[in-house]
C-alpha cells in the first residue's frame, strides 16, 4: 500500500503551550483517516501543519511524498483543504468563487468549465450559480466549500471539522460524498468531534491534549476496550443511578434517555453483582442487558485514564 501522509514526532508549541505533542501516524492512499478529539486537542493545528499554514516546531512529515517543511510548493497542487470556517468569498457569487479558485490553481478554459460543472452538480447548486454564496442554505454552502477544495482534483483532501453546524441529513449526504472520493482512490484526512462520524472512518486516531492515545479501526478500538457495556432499565432510574454510580465494580455509569449505561471491568460478573445490590434496596423490577460498546465508550475510557 502506498503511503499518502506520514508524520514523525510532529510537534507544535505556541509560547510554551504544546498544541501537538510528538505525534506519529501514517495514512494510506484511499483511506478515510479520522482525527477524533475534543476541541483544543490539536486537531486543527495538525491539519494546518500538513497543509503548510503553520510550520512545525519539531518533527518531520510528508504529504504525497513531499516534505512538509521544505517542499511546501510541491504539496500545494496535490492537496485540497477545507477549513473549519466557511472559507469562500461570501460577497462573490458561486460562479465567481469557483472561477477565482480554479484560476489560482492554474485551471483555464474548458478544463475549468468542466470542473465548475462537476462542483455545481456535486454541491447541488442547480440554477443558483449567480447567487452570492452568502444567501445559500448551510448544507449547500458546506458542500460548495468542499467543491472549492477539490476543484483542482487533488489526490489528498484535508477536511477540518467539515460537518460542524450542519443538520444530520446534510451530514449523511456529506459523508456519502466523502465515501465517493475514497472509492476514487483519494486520501481523506478528516477531523471531527462527533463520535458517530468517526464510525465512518477506515482508521482513526483518538487525540487528547495534543497526543494520540489510540489509533486503529473503529471496530478494533471498540474490541480492545477492557470493559463490557450494559444497559440497565428500570422505572425509578434516577434514584437507582444515584445508588449505583459509586459502586466500586462499576467503572462508569451514565444516563442515556431512560436507560443507565454501565461500563464494567471484564473481571466482574456485573449481572449477579448488581442484582445483589438492587435486591437489597428492594428494587426488583429491572432489566440488565449487555450492549455493544460505542466509540464514545472507548473515548471516555481513554480520557478517564488520562485523568481528563
Amino acid at each position: 500500500m502506498e503511503i499518502s501522509v506520514e508524520v514523525q514526532n510532529l510537534t507544535k508549541r505556541f509560547d510554551g503551550f504544546t498544541a501537538v505533542d510528538s505525534i506519529n501516524f501514517s495514512v494510506m492512499k484511499g483511506e478515510i483517516f479520522g482525527f477524533l478529539g475534543p476541541n483544543g486537542a490539536g486537531k486543527s493545528t495538525t491539519i494546518k501543519m500538513l497543509c503548510g499554514i503553520l510550520s512545525p516546531t519539531e518533527g518531520t512529515g510528508t504529504v504525497s511524498g513531499y516534505d512538509i517543511v521544505t517542499e511546501q510548493d510541491k504539496i500545494k497542487n496535490t492537496i485540497g483543504y477545507m477549513s473549519q470556517k466557511f472559507s469562500l468569498y461570501s460577497d462573490l457569487t458561486v460562479r465567481e468563487n469557483l472561477q477565482f479558485f480554479g484560476s489560482i490553481y492554474g485551471l483555464t478554459g474548458k478544463k475549468l468549465q468542466e470542473r465548475i460543472d462537476y462542483v455545481r452538480e456535486m454541491a447541488g447548486i442547480g440554477d443558483r450559480m449567480d447567487s452570492p454564496v452568502d444567501i445559500l442554505p448551510g448544507g449547500i454552502k458546506q458542500r460548495l466549500a468542499l467543491g472549492g477544495a477539490i476543484l483542482h482534483d487533488p489526490p489528498v483532501l484535508f477536511l477540518d471539522e467539515p460537518t460542524s453546524g450542519v443538520d444530520p441529513l446534510m451530514r449523511r449526504n456529506f459523508w456519502e460524498l466523502i465515501y465517493d472520493f475514497s472509492r476514487k482512490g483519494k486520501t481523506i484526512f478528516v477531523t471531527t468531534h462527533y463520535m458517530d462520524e468517526a464510525e465512518h472512518c477506515s482508521r482513526m486516531a483518538l487525540v487528547i491534549a495534543g497526543k494520540i492515545i489510540a489509533l486503529d479501526t473503529p471496530d478494533n478500538l471498540k474490541r480492545s476496550l477492557p470493559y463490557s457495556v450494559y444497559a440497565l432499565r428500570t422505572d425509578d432510574f434516577i434514584k437507582v443511578f444515584d445508588k449505583i454510580a459509586k459502586l466500586d465494580f462499576i467503572e462508569e455509569a451514565a444516563i442515556f434517555g431512560s436507560d443507565i449505561h454501565i461500563l464494567c471491568d471484564n473481571k466482574y460478573k456485573l449481572k449477579s453483582e448488581l442484582g445483589k445490590v438492587l435486591n437489597k434496596s428492594g428494587i426488583t423490577d429491572y432489566r440488565i442487558e449487555r450492549i455493544p460498546a460505542t466509540l464514545e465508550d472507548v473515548f471516555v475510557t481513554h480520557a478517564r485514564k488520562l485523568g481528563v
Binding site: 494546518k48 492537496i79 472559507s87 489560482i104
Partner: protein, 387 residues
C-alpha cells in the same frame, strides 16, 4: 505562500476579484466615493482662512467728520464691519469676551484737535488674540489703514499749504507707494491652497485604509487560509491586493483634479502627466504603509484605527496646514521621512506655480527612495507572517 513568481493570467483574475469585492462592500464604497465628496465640500467651501468681516466695537468720543472719516476708511477697506457703537470703554469687554466683536477701537475726544494742531494723535485698539494668526493679520490691516489715513491727511495738508502760498509751480510728489503683487495665488484664496493638498490626503487615506482592510478581511473571513494552501505566490497576492488600489488612487487623483479645476476654479498651471507620474511613487509609499498595517492588524477595525494612527501625524507634518519651516527643527527632520510632505510640495508646485521636473526633482527623488525602502521593508515583513 512564498515566491516572487507572477503569472499574468492569475494576477488578472485576482485583480478582477478584488474590484468586484471593493464595489460590493458598502464600507469600502463609502470610503471610495463618500470621503472625496466630504473633503471637497469641507476644503472647497467650509474651510476659509481668509480674513474678512472683522467686527469692530466702536467708541467714537470725538464725533467729528475726521473721526468718521477714519472709521469709513476701515469699513470701506472691505475687511472691517462696524458691528456696534459703544458709549463707554467699559462696554468693550462684554463684546470681546463673548466673541461678538473681534476688536475694540476707541477714537479719543481730542482726535481732531490733535490732528490739526500737529500733535500726536492716538487710537486705542483692543484685539481678541485668541486666534493668534488671525489677530496678527488684523493688526497688519489696522496699521495699513491708519498709515494710509495719516499719509492722506498729510498730503492734503501740505497741498493746501502750498496752494495758499500761491506757488502753483511747486511740484508735489506722492509719498513712495508700495505696490504689492503676489505671485501664484494672487487672491490669496485659501481654497486654492488647500484643495490641491486634499488630493494628497485622500489618496493616502483611501489607499492605506482600503488596502489594509481588504487584506485583513481575507484573514478575518478565513479565505486567507484557502489562499495560503493554494499555489498562489506571495508576489501575486501582494500585487493582486495593491494594484487595484493603486489604479483607484490614480483615478481618484484625476477626477479630483478635474473637479478642483472645473468646479472650484483652482488654477492648474503645470503638467497633468507629471502629476500622475509622481503620484505613482507616492502611492507606492502609501501602499507600503498599508501592507505594514495589514501585518499588525487582526480585524478591519484595527486596520482602520492603525490607518488613522499613521494618517493624522503624517497630515500634521506634511505642510498641509502648518508650514514646515515654522516647526521646531527636530520635527522638520522628521517630516523628511513623510511621503505626504513631498507629494504635497509636488502637487502645490504643479497646481499653483506650474513648475515641473526641473524644480520638483528633489521631491520626486525623495519619494522614489522612500517608496523603494518602504516597499521592500513591508514586503519582507508581510512574507515573514507566512513562515
Amino acid at each position: 505562500m512564498k515566491g516572487i513568481l507572477i503569472r499574468p493570467a492569475i494576477l488578472k483574475s485576482f485583480i478582477m476579484k478584488e474590484f468586484k469585492q471593493i464595489l460590493r462592500d458598502k464600507r469600502m464604497k463609502m470610503m471610495l466615493f463618500g470621503s472625496p465628496v466630504l473633503m471637497l465640500i469641507v476644503f472647497g467651501y467650509a474651510v476659509n482662512t481668509d480674513i474678512s468681516e472683522i467686527k469692530m466695537a466702536v467708541l467714537d468720543s470725538d464725533k467729528t467728520s475726521e473721526s468718521r472719516q477714519l472709521l469709513r476708511k476701515f469699513t470701506s477697506s472691505g475687511y472691517f464691519t462696524h458691528y456696534v457703537s459703544l458709549e463707554s470703554p467699559d462696554e468693550a469687554a462684554k463684546f470681546l469676551d463673548k466673541g461678538e466683536a473681534d476688536m475694540f477701537i476707541h477714537i479719543p475726544a481730542d482726535f481732531k484737535k490733535n490732528l490739526y494742531s500737529g500733535k500726536a494723535t492716538e487710537l486705542q485698539i483692543i484685539l481678541d488674540g485668541t486666534d493668534s494668526s488671525r489677530a496678527s493679520v488684523i493688526m497688519a490691516y489696522i496699521n495699513q489703514i491708519s498709515s494710509d489715513f495719516s499719509v492722506e491727511y498729510l498730503t492734503q495738508k501740505v497741498r493746501m499749504l502750498v496752494l495758499s502760498r500761491g506757488s502753483s509751480s511747486v511740484r508735489f510728489n506722492e509719498p513712495l507707494p508700495v505696490k504689492e503683487r503676489i505671485l501664484f495665488n494672487p487672491d490669496l484664496t485659501s481654497r486654492n491652497f488647500y484643495l490641491p493638498g486634499v488630493l494628497s490626503l485622500l489618496v493616502a487615506l483611501i489607499t492605506i485604509m482600503l488596502t489594509s482592510m481588504s487584506v485583513v478581511k481575507e484573514r478575518e473571513s478565513g479565505t486567507m487560509e484557502q489562499i495560503i494552501v493554494s499555489p498562489l505566490s506571495s508576489a501575486e497576492f501582494i500585487a493582486g491586493k495593491t494594484l487595484p488600489f493603486a489604479i483607484i488612487g490614480v483615478a481618484e487623483i484625476s477626477v479630483i483634479t478635474l473637479i478642483a479645476i472645473a468646479w472650484f476654479k483652482v488654477p492648474f498651471n503645470g503638467s497633468f502627466v507629471f502629476l500622475i507620474f509622481s503620484s505613482i511613487f507616492y502611492i507606492m509609499c502609501t501602499l507600503s504603509v498599508s501592507l505594514y498595517i495589514s501585518t499588525v492588524s487582526q480585524t478591519q477595525q484595527q486596520a482602520m484605527l492603525s490607518t488613522f494612527l499613521f494618517f493624522i501625524p503624517a497630515m500634521m507634518l506634511s505642510g498641509f496646514i502648518f508650514p514646515i519651516y515654522a516647526m521646531p527643527e527636530i520635527f522638520q527632520y522628521i517630516t523628511m521621512l513623510n511621503p505626504m510632505r513631498y507629494f504635497m510640495a509636488i502637487i502645490r508646485g504643479i497646481f499653483l506655480k506650474g513648475v515641473g521636473f526641473t524644480v520638483l526633482w528633489h521631491e520626486l527623488l525623495a519619494l522614489t527612495v522612500l517608496g523603494s525602502v518602504l516597499i521592500s521593508l513591508s514586503i519582507r515583513r508581510f512574507n515573514r507572517g507566512f513562515e
